[in-house]
Protein backbone atom coordinates (compact mmCIF):
# COMPACT_ATOMS: atom_id res chain seq x y z
CA UNK A 1 0.00 0.00 0.00
CA UNK A 2 1.40 3.40 -0.92
CA UNK A 3 2.09 5.96 1.82
CA UNK A 4 -0.51 8.25 0.23
CA UNK A 5 -3.19 5.57 0.40
CA UNK A 6 -2.27 4.76 4.00
CA UNK A 7 -2.57 8.40 4.97
CA UNK A 8 -5.90 8.67 3.19
CA UNK A 9 -7.25 5.63 5.04
CA UNK A 10 -6.12 6.99 8.42
CA UNK A 11 -7.76 10.34 7.72
CA UNK A 12 -10.98 8.65 6.61
CA UNK A 13 -11.18 6.36 9.67
CA UNK A 14 -10.26 9.05 12.19
CA UNK A 15 -12.45 11.70 10.52
CA UNK A 16 -15.46 9.39 10.32
CA UNK A 17 -15.18 8.31 13.96
CA UNK A 18 -14.67 11.81 15.33
CA UNK A 19 -17.55 13.16 13.22
CA UNK A 20 -19.91 10.57 14.71
CA UNK A 21 -18.63 11.20 18.25
CA UNK A 22 -19.25 14.92 17.74
CA UNK A 23 -22.73 14.21 16.40
CA UNK A 24 -23.42 12.41 19.67
CA UNK A 25 -21.78 14.85 22.09
CA UNK A 26 -22.45 18.33 20.66
CA UNK A 27 -25.61 20.20 21.72
CA UNK A 28 -28.73 18.60 20.30
CA UNK A 29 -29.82 21.76 18.48
CA UNK A 30 -26.52 21.92 16.57
CA UNK A 31 -26.74 18.47 14.98
CA UNK A 32 -29.26 17.30 12.34
CA UNK A 33 -31.56 14.65 13.82
CA UNK A 34 -30.59 11.87 11.39
CA UNK A 35 -26.87 12.44 11.94
CA UNK A 36 -27.43 12.37 15.70
CA UNK A 37 -29.19 9.03 15.37
CA UNK A 38 -26.29 7.57 13.39
CA UNK A 39 -23.88 9.00 15.99
CA UNK A 40 -25.85 7.38 18.81
CA UNK A 41 -25.84 4.00 17.06
CA UNK A 42 -22.06 4.22 16.58
CA UNK A 43 -21.10 5.65 19.97
CA UNK A 44 -23.40 4.06 22.55
CA UNK A 45 -22.26 0.42 22.39
CA UNK A 46 -18.55 1.12 22.86
CA UNK A 47 -17.78 4.78 23.45
CA UNK A 48 -20.54 6.06 25.70
CA UNK A 49 -19.82 9.62 26.79
CA UNK A 50 -21.63 12.88 27.46
CA UNK A 51 -19.17 15.28 29.15
CA UNK A 52 -22.06 17.08 30.84
CA UNK A 53 -20.63 17.67 34.33
CA UNK A 54 -22.04 21.11 35.28
CA UNK A 55 -23.15 21.57 31.65
CA UNK A 56 -25.02 23.18 30.05
CA UNK A 57 -25.72 24.60 33.55
CA UNK A 58 -24.81 23.40 37.02
CA UNK A 59 -27.72 22.02 39.03
CA UNK A 60 -29.58 24.82 40.81
CA UNK A 61 -30.65 22.35 43.48
CA UNK A 62 -28.41 20.36 45.77
CA UNK A 63 -30.38 17.13 46.01
CA UNK A 64 -30.13 14.73 48.90
CA UNK A 65 -31.93 11.48 49.65
CA UNK A 66 -32.70 10.86 53.29
CA UNK A 67 -33.99 7.81 55.08
CA UNK A 68 -36.29 7.86 58.11
CA UNK A 69 -34.84 6.26 61.23
CA UNK A 70 -36.95 4.36 63.77
CA UNK A 71 -36.51 7.19 66.28
CA UNK A 72 -38.19 9.62 63.90
CA UNK A 73 -35.01 11.32 62.73
CA UNK A 74 -33.92 11.56 59.11
CA UNK A 75 -30.37 11.01 57.89
CA UNK A 76 -28.70 10.93 54.45
CA UNK A 77 -28.75 7.51 52.80
CA UNK A 78 -24.99 7.58 53.19
CA UNK A 79 -23.82 8.80 56.56
CA UNK A 80 -21.60 11.87 56.56
CA UNK A 81 -18.65 9.80 57.78
CA UNK A 82 -18.97 7.17 55.02
CA UNK A 83 -16.02 6.63 52.65
CA UNK A 84 -15.89 9.36 49.99
CA UNK A 85 -16.68 7.03 47.10
CA UNK A 86 -19.78 5.77 48.92
CA UNK A 87 -20.95 9.33 49.56
CA UNK A 88 -20.32 10.21 45.91
CA UNK A 89 -22.88 7.64 44.79
CA UNK A 90 -25.60 9.43 46.76
CA UNK A 91 -25.63 12.56 44.61
CA UNK A 92 -26.28 11.08 41.14
CA UNK A 93 -28.92 8.85 42.70
CA UNK A 94 -30.66 11.86 44.27
CA UNK A 95 -30.34 13.82 41.01
CA UNK A 96 -31.97 10.99 39.03
CA UNK A 97 -34.88 10.85 41.50
CA UNK A 98 -35.26 14.65 41.47
CA UNK A 99 -35.22 14.87 37.66
CA UNK A 100 -37.90 12.21 37.35
CA UNK A 101 -40.08 13.96 39.92
CA UNK A 102 -39.61 17.34 38.29
CA UNK A 103 -40.76 15.78 35.02
CA UNK A 104 -44.01 14.62 36.61
CA UNK A 105 -43.22 11.18 38.03
CA UNK A 106 -44.86 10.78 41.41
CA UNK A 107 -43.53 7.27 41.95
CA UNK A 108 -39.83 6.43 42.14
CA UNK A 109 -38.60 4.20 39.32
CA UNK A 110 -38.02 0.61 40.53
CA UNK A 111 -34.40 0.70 39.31
CA UNK A 112 -33.75 3.76 41.50
CA UNK A 113 -35.72 2.34 44.42
CA UNK A 114 -33.56 -0.79 44.38
CA UNK A 115 -30.42 1.36 44.51
CA UNK A 116 -31.80 3.43 47.42
CA UNK A 117 -32.79 0.39 49.44
CA UNK A 118 -29.43 -1.21 48.71
CA UNK A 119 -27.67 1.89 50.05
CA UNK A 120 -29.40 1.51 53.43
CA UNK A 121 -29.39 -2.28 53.56
CA UNK A 122 -27.76 -2.26 57.00
CA UNK A 123 -30.67 -0.29 58.45
CA UNK A 124 -33.26 -2.16 56.44
CA UNK A 125 -32.23 -5.43 58.01
CA UNK A 126 -33.51 -4.24 61.39
CA UNK A 127 -36.36 -1.97 60.34
CA UNK A 128 -39.16 -2.82 57.95
CA UNK A 129 -40.97 -0.33 55.67
CA UNK A 130 -38.28 2.31 55.54
CA UNK A 131 -39.39 5.76 54.43
CA UNK A 132 -37.36 7.97 52.13
CA UNK A 133 -37.55 11.62 51.29
CA UNK A 134 -35.93 13.94 48.78
CA UNK A 135 -34.47 17.19 50.12
CA UNK A 136 -33.81 19.86 47.47
CA UNK A 137 -31.82 22.93 48.46
CA UNK A 138 -32.33 25.27 45.54
CA UNK A 139 -30.79 28.53 44.36
CA UNK A 140 -33.61 31.00 43.62
CA UNK A 141 -31.42 33.85 42.37
CA UNK A 142 -28.23 32.78 40.55
CA UNK A 143 -26.61 36.08 41.53
CA UNK A 144 -27.08 35.13 45.22
CA UNK A 145 -26.32 31.41 45.20
CA UNK A 146 -25.66 31.33 48.95
CA UNK A 147 -29.40 31.84 49.58
CA UNK A 148 -31.04 28.47 49.03
CA UNK A 149 -34.57 27.43 49.80
CA UNK A 150 -35.32 23.94 51.04
CA UNK A 151 -38.03 21.72 49.60
CA UNK A 152 -38.84 18.31 51.07
CA UNK A 153 -40.82 15.58 49.30
CA UNK A 154 -41.77 12.25 50.80
CA UNK A 155 -41.05 9.56 48.21
CA UNK A 156 -43.61 7.00 47.06
CA UNK A 157 -42.82 3.61 45.59
CA UNK A 158 -44.70 1.32 43.24
CA UNK A 159 -45.79 -1.07 46.01
CA UNK A 160 -47.30 1.67 48.18
Amino acid sequence: MSPFRKRLLVIAFVGGHILLVLAYTLPQQWVPAHLRTVGRIWVRPLFHQQWLLFAPDPELCANELQVGMPNGEWRPVFAADAYWLERRMARPLADHVAHRMNHGDTIVLPVLERAMRSAVRDIGRDVGNLEFRLVERCVEDPARPDRRTERITLLRFSDQ
Binding site: Q49, Q50, R88, M89
Partner: protein, 281 residues
Protein backbone atom coordinates in the same frame (compact mmCIF):
# COMPACT_ATOMS: atom_id res chain seq x y z
CA UNK B 1 3.52 10.06 9.73
CA UNK B 2 4.55 7.09 11.90
CA UNK B 3 3.38 6.86 15.48
CA UNK B 4 5.96 8.39 17.89
CA UNK B 5 6.93 5.69 20.39
CA UNK B 6 7.99 7.93 23.30
CA UNK B 7 4.60 9.59 23.90
CA UNK B 8 2.78 6.28 23.36
CA UNK B 9 4.90 4.49 25.98
CA UNK B 10 4.61 7.31 28.50
CA UNK B 11 0.85 7.50 27.91
CA UNK B 12 0.55 3.74 28.47
CA UNK B 13 2.47 4.03 31.73
CA UNK B 14 0.28 6.91 32.91
CA UNK B 15 -2.94 5.07 32.06
CA UNK B 16 -1.82 1.90 33.88
CA UNK B 17 -0.70 3.95 36.88
CA UNK B 18 -4.14 5.62 36.93
CA UNK B 19 -5.86 2.23 36.82
CA UNK B 20 -3.81 1.02 39.79
CA UNK B 21 -4.56 4.19 41.80
CA UNK B 22 -8.25 4.03 40.93
CA UNK B 23 -8.56 0.40 42.00
CA UNK B 24 -6.62 0.92 45.23
CA UNK B 25 -8.70 4.01 46.10
CA UNK B 26 -11.91 2.03 45.51
CA UNK B 27 -10.97 -1.01 47.60
CA UNK B 28 -12.22 0.39 50.95
CA UNK B 29 -15.68 0.66 49.38
CA UNK B 30 -15.42 -2.57 47.37
CA UNK B 31 -18.50 -4.08 48.99
CA UNK B 32 -20.70 -1.14 47.95
CA UNK B 33 -19.12 -0.65 44.54
CA UNK B 34 -18.60 -4.18 43.19
CA UNK B 35 -19.45 -6.99 45.58
CA UNK B 36 -23.04 -6.03 46.44
CA UNK B 37 -23.25 -2.91 44.30
CA UNK B 38 -25.64 -0.08 45.02
CA UNK B 39 -25.77 0.67 41.32
CA UNK B 40 -28.66 -1.40 40.12
CA UNK B 41 -28.71 -3.64 37.07
CA UNK B 42 -28.14 -1.93 33.70
CA UNK B 43 -28.97 -4.10 30.68
CA UNK B 44 -26.55 -2.31 28.35
CA UNK B 45 -27.13 -1.26 24.76
CA UNK B 46 -28.46 -3.78 22.25
CA UNK B 47 -26.00 -5.72 20.15
CA UNK B 48 -23.19 -8.19 20.73
CA UNK B 49 -20.79 -5.66 22.30
CA UNK B 50 -22.74 -5.72 25.54
CA UNK B 51 -21.13 -9.09 26.27
CA UNK B 52 -17.82 -7.22 26.42
CA UNK B 53 -18.89 -3.89 27.93
CA UNK B 54 -21.62 -5.15 30.28
CA UNK B 55 -20.28 -8.60 31.11
CA UNK B 56 -21.73 -8.59 34.64
CA UNK B 57 -25.25 -7.93 33.45
CA UNK B 58 -25.12 -10.23 30.42
CA UNK B 59 -23.16 -13.42 31.13
CA UNK B 60 -20.75 -13.14 34.06
CA UNK B 61 -22.18 -13.57 37.58
CA UNK B 62 -21.83 -10.51 39.81
CA UNK B 63 -19.96 -12.63 42.33
CA UNK B 64 -17.00 -12.60 39.94
CA UNK B 65 -16.71 -8.81 40.02
CA UNK B 66 -14.21 -8.76 42.90
CA UNK B 67 -11.94 -11.42 41.34
CA UNK B 68 -12.17 -9.40 38.10
CA UNK B 69 -10.89 -6.35 39.99
CA UNK B 70 -7.92 -8.45 41.11
CA UNK B 71 -7.17 -9.52 37.54
CA UNK B 72 -7.46 -5.93 36.33
CA UNK B 73 -5.04 -4.81 39.03
CA UNK B 74 -2.51 -7.48 38.06
CA UNK B 75 -2.76 -6.62 34.36
CA UNK B 76 -2.33 -2.92 35.18
CA UNK B 77 0.81 -3.64 37.20
CA UNK B 78 2.03 -5.75 34.28
CA UNK B 79 1.46 -2.74 32.02
CA UNK B 80 3.98 -0.74 34.05
CA UNK B 81 6.80 -3.19 33.57
CA UNK B 82 6.15 -5.34 30.54
CA UNK B 83 5.72 -4.58 26.83
CA UNK B 84 2.14 -4.02 25.83
CA UNK B 85 0.28 -6.82 24.05
CA UNK B 86 -3.05 -6.58 22.26
CA UNK B 87 -4.60 -9.41 24.31
CA UNK B 88 -3.61 -7.72 27.55
CA UNK B 89 -5.05 -4.39 26.37
CA UNK B 90 -8.26 -6.16 25.29
CA UNK B 91 -8.64 -7.80 28.71
CA UNK B 92 -7.95 -4.53 30.53
CA UNK B 93 -10.53 -2.68 28.44
CA UNK B 94 -13.19 -5.39 28.79
CA UNK B 95 -12.72 -5.76 32.55
CA UNK B 96 -12.55 -2.02 33.21
CA UNK B 97 -15.63 -1.20 31.11
CA UNK B 98 -17.69 -4.04 32.55
CA UNK B 99 -16.74 -3.11 36.12
CA UNK B 100 -17.54 0.53 35.36
CA UNK B 101 -20.98 -0.36 34.03
CA UNK B 102 -21.49 -2.70 36.99
CA UNK B 103 -20.83 0.26 39.34
CA UNK B 104 -22.15 3.11 37.19
CA UNK B 105 -23.14 5.35 40.12
CA UNK B 106 -19.52 5.81 41.11
CA UNK B 107 -18.24 6.54 37.57
CA UNK B 108 -17.23 9.98 36.30
CA UNK B 109 -16.45 11.57 32.95
CA UNK B 110 -12.83 10.60 33.63
CA UNK B 111 -13.83 6.94 33.80
CA UNK B 112 -15.70 7.31 30.49
CA UNK B 113 -12.61 8.89 28.95
CA UNK B 114 -10.54 5.95 30.20
CA UNK B 115 -13.04 3.43 28.82
CA UNK B 116 -12.63 5.16 25.46
CA UNK B 117 -8.86 5.33 25.35
CA UNK B 118 -8.46 1.78 26.72
CA UNK B 119 -10.42 0.49 23.73
CA UNK B 120 -8.16 2.25 21.24
CA UNK B 121 -5.04 1.16 23.16
CA UNK B 122 -5.77 -2.39 21.92
CA UNK B 123 -4.77 -1.19 18.45
CA UNK B 124 -1.81 1.01 19.36
CA UNK B 125 1.56 -0.26 18.11
CA UNK B 126 3.47 -2.01 20.88
CA UNK B 127 6.89 -0.85 19.79
CA UNK B 128 8.04 -4.30 18.72
CA UNK B 129 9.84 -5.07 15.49
CA UNK B 130 6.74 -6.49 13.86
CA UNK B 131 5.02 -3.11 14.16
CA UNK B 132 7.26 -1.53 11.64
CA UNK B 133 6.19 -1.69 8.02
CA UNK B 134 7.54 -4.95 6.66
CA UNK B 135 6.68 -8.00 4.64
CA UNK B 136 4.94 -9.42 7.74
CA UNK B 137 2.18 -6.83 7.53
CA UNK B 138 0.43 -7.40 4.23
CA UNK B 139 -0.81 -4.18 2.73
CA UNK B 140 0.45 -2.20 5.74
CA UNK B 141 -2.95 -2.39 7.45
CA UNK B 142 -1.36 -2.81 10.89
CA UNK B 143 0.35 0.53 10.40
CA UNK B 144 -2.91 2.16 9.30
CA UNK B 145 -4.78 0.76 12.32
CA UNK B 146 -2.02 1.85 14.72
CA UNK B 147 -1.98 5.39 13.36
CA UNK B 148 -5.78 5.54 13.43
CA UNK B 149 -5.87 4.49 17.09
CA UNK B 150 -3.14 7.00 17.98
CA UNK B 151 -4.97 9.92 16.40
CA UNK B 152 -8.36 8.93 17.77
CA UNK B 153 -6.94 8.86 21.32
CA UNK B 154 -5.34 12.25 20.77
CA UNK B 155 -8.54 13.77 19.38
CA UNK B 156 -10.71 12.09 22.02
CA UNK B 157 -9.09 14.26 24.69
CA UNK B 158 -9.84 17.36 22.64
CA UNK B 159 -13.45 16.28 22.05
CA UNK B 160 -13.92 15.84 25.81
CA UNK B 161 -12.80 19.39 26.56
CA UNK B 162 -14.41 20.96 23.51
CA UNK B 163 -17.78 19.24 23.93
CA UNK B 164 -18.19 20.20 27.57
CA UNK B 165 -17.14 23.78 26.79
CA UNK B 166 -19.56 24.07 23.90
CA UNK B 167 -22.39 22.54 25.96
CA UNK B 168 -21.79 25.24 28.57
CA UNK B 169 -22.15 27.93 25.92
CA UNK B 170 -25.71 26.77 25.29
CA UNK B 171 -26.69 27.23 28.94
CA UNK B 172 -27.35 30.41 30.92
CA UNK B 173 -25.27 30.25 34.10
CA UNK B 174 -21.82 29.88 32.49
CA UNK B 175 -22.35 32.62 29.94
CA UNK B 176 -23.59 34.98 32.66
CA UNK B 177 -20.82 34.22 35.14
CA UNK B 178 -22.95 32.53 37.81
CA UNK B 179 -21.87 28.89 37.43
CA UNK B 180 -18.91 28.74 39.83
CA UNK B 181 -20.95 30.56 42.46
CA UNK B 182 -23.70 27.96 42.22
CA UNK B 183 -21.25 25.06 42.33
CA UNK B 184 -19.26 26.49 45.24
CA UNK B 185 -22.39 26.90 47.39
CA UNK B 186 -23.53 23.36 46.63
CA UNK B 187 -22.83 21.36 49.81
CA UNK B 188 -21.75 18.33 47.73
CA UNK B 189 -19.10 20.29 45.84
CA UNK B 190 -17.78 23.60 47.15
CA UNK B 191 -15.33 24.94 48.06
CA UNK B 192 -17.61 26.93 50.35
CA UNK B 193 -14.99 29.63 51.09
CA UNK B 194 -15.40 30.86 47.50
CA UNK B 195 -19.10 31.61 48.04
CA UNK B 196 -18.74 35.27 49.01
CA UNK B 197 -15.95 36.17 46.55
CA UNK B 198 -18.08 37.98 43.96
CA UNK B 199 -15.59 39.10 41.31
CA UNK B 200 -13.28 36.11 41.85
CA UNK B 201 -16.19 33.77 41.13
CA UNK B 202 -16.86 35.53 37.83
CA UNK B 203 -13.19 35.43 36.84
CA UNK B 204 -12.97 31.71 37.66
CA UNK B 205 -16.20 31.09 35.73
CA UNK B 206 -14.86 32.57 32.50
CA UNK B 207 -11.36 31.14 33.06
CA UNK B 208 -12.78 27.60 33.21
CA UNK B 209 -14.95 28.21 30.17
CA UNK B 210 -12.04 29.72 28.25
CA UNK B 211 -9.68 26.90 29.21
CA UNK B 212 -12.07 24.18 28.05
CA UNK B 213 -12.96 25.91 24.79
CA UNK B 214 -9.39 26.76 23.80
CA UNK B 215 -7.64 23.55 24.89
CA UNK B 216 -8.48 21.76 21.61
CA UNK B 217 -6.67 24.51 19.71
CA UNK B 218 -3.81 25.23 22.10
CA UNK B 219 -2.31 21.74 22.14
CA UNK B 220 -1.28 21.88 18.49
CA UNK B 221 1.65 24.26 19.17
CA UNK B 222 4.43 23.36 21.61
CA UNK B 223 4.55 26.71 23.39
CA UNK B 224 0.80 26.98 24.03
CA UNK B 225 0.56 23.24 24.74
CA UNK B 226 2.91 23.57 27.71
CA UNK B 227 0.96 26.52 29.15
CA UNK B 228 -2.44 24.85 28.68
CA UNK B 229 -1.26 21.54 30.12
CA UNK B 230 0.11 23.25 33.24
CA UNK B 231 -3.22 25.09 33.49
CA UNK B 232 -4.96 21.73 33.10
CA UNK B 233 -2.87 20.30 35.93
CA UNK B 234 -3.93 23.13 38.25
CA UNK B 235 -7.56 22.92 37.05
CA UNK B 236 -7.92 19.17 37.48
CA UNK B 237 -6.09 18.92 40.81
CA UNK B 238 -8.04 21.94 42.13
CA UNK B 239 -11.47 20.75 41.04
CA UNK B 240 -10.56 17.17 41.92
CA UNK B 241 -9.76 18.04 45.52
CA UNK B 242 -12.58 20.58 45.93
CA UNK B 243 -15.34 18.47 44.36
CA UNK B 244 -14.16 15.01 45.45
CA UNK B 245 -13.47 13.94 41.86
CA UNK B 246 -9.69 13.64 41.93
CA UNK B 247 -9.94 10.33 40.04
CA UNK B 248 -11.66 12.16 37.20
CA UNK B 249 -9.01 14.89 37.06
CA UNK B 250 -6.15 12.37 37.13
CA UNK B 251 -7.78 10.44 34.27
CA UNK B 252 -7.60 13.52 32.05
CA UNK B 253 -4.01 14.21 33.13
CA UNK B 254 -3.03 10.60 32.37
CA UNK B 255 -3.99 11.13 28.73
CA UNK B 256 -1.89 14.31 28.32
CA UNK B 257 1.39 12.49 27.46
CA UNK B 258 -0.08 11.25 24.16
CA UNK B 259 0.27 14.88 23.02
CA UNK B 260 3.87 15.28 24.16
CA UNK B 261 6.79 15.50 21.75
CA UNK B 262 8.81 12.34 21.14
CA UNK B 263 12.09 13.73 22.53
CA UNK B 264 10.53 15.03 25.74
CA UNK B 265 8.58 11.83 26.39
CA UNK B 266 11.64 9.65 25.73
CA UNK B 267 13.70 11.81 28.11
CA UNK B 268 11.09 11.37 30.87
CA UNK B 269 10.98 7.62 30.23
CA UNK B 270 14.76 7.35 30.47
CA UNK B 271 14.72 9.20 33.78
CA UNK B 272 12.08 6.78 35.09
CA UNK B 273 13.67 3.64 33.69
CA UNK B 274 17.39 4.44 33.33
CA UNK B 275 18.43 0.91 32.31
CA UNK B 276 15.74 -0.09 29.87
CA UNK B 277 12.52 1.42 28.59
CA UNK B 278 9.54 -0.39 30.17
CA UNK B 279 7.68 -1.06 26.97
CA UNK B 280 10.12 -3.47 25.52
CA UNK B 281 12.48 -1.52 23.30
Amino acid sequence: MSVPQGPVRLFRLAVHAWLILDILASLPAAEWIWDRPISSYLPGPPGPFRYLTHAFSSWLPGSLALPAVGVLLLLSVRGLFRPSRWWSALLVWGLFTSLLNHAWLVGTGGHQLMANVLFWMIFLPDGQANDRPSAKTPGGMREVIGRTAFWIIRLQLLVAYGATGVQKLTGYQWTHGHAIGIVSTDPDYGPAFLAGQGILLVILNYAVLGFQLTFPLAVWWRRTRIIWMWSGLVFHIGTGVAFGILDMGLAFLAVYPIWWGDAKATKVLRSMYPVRSPQGS
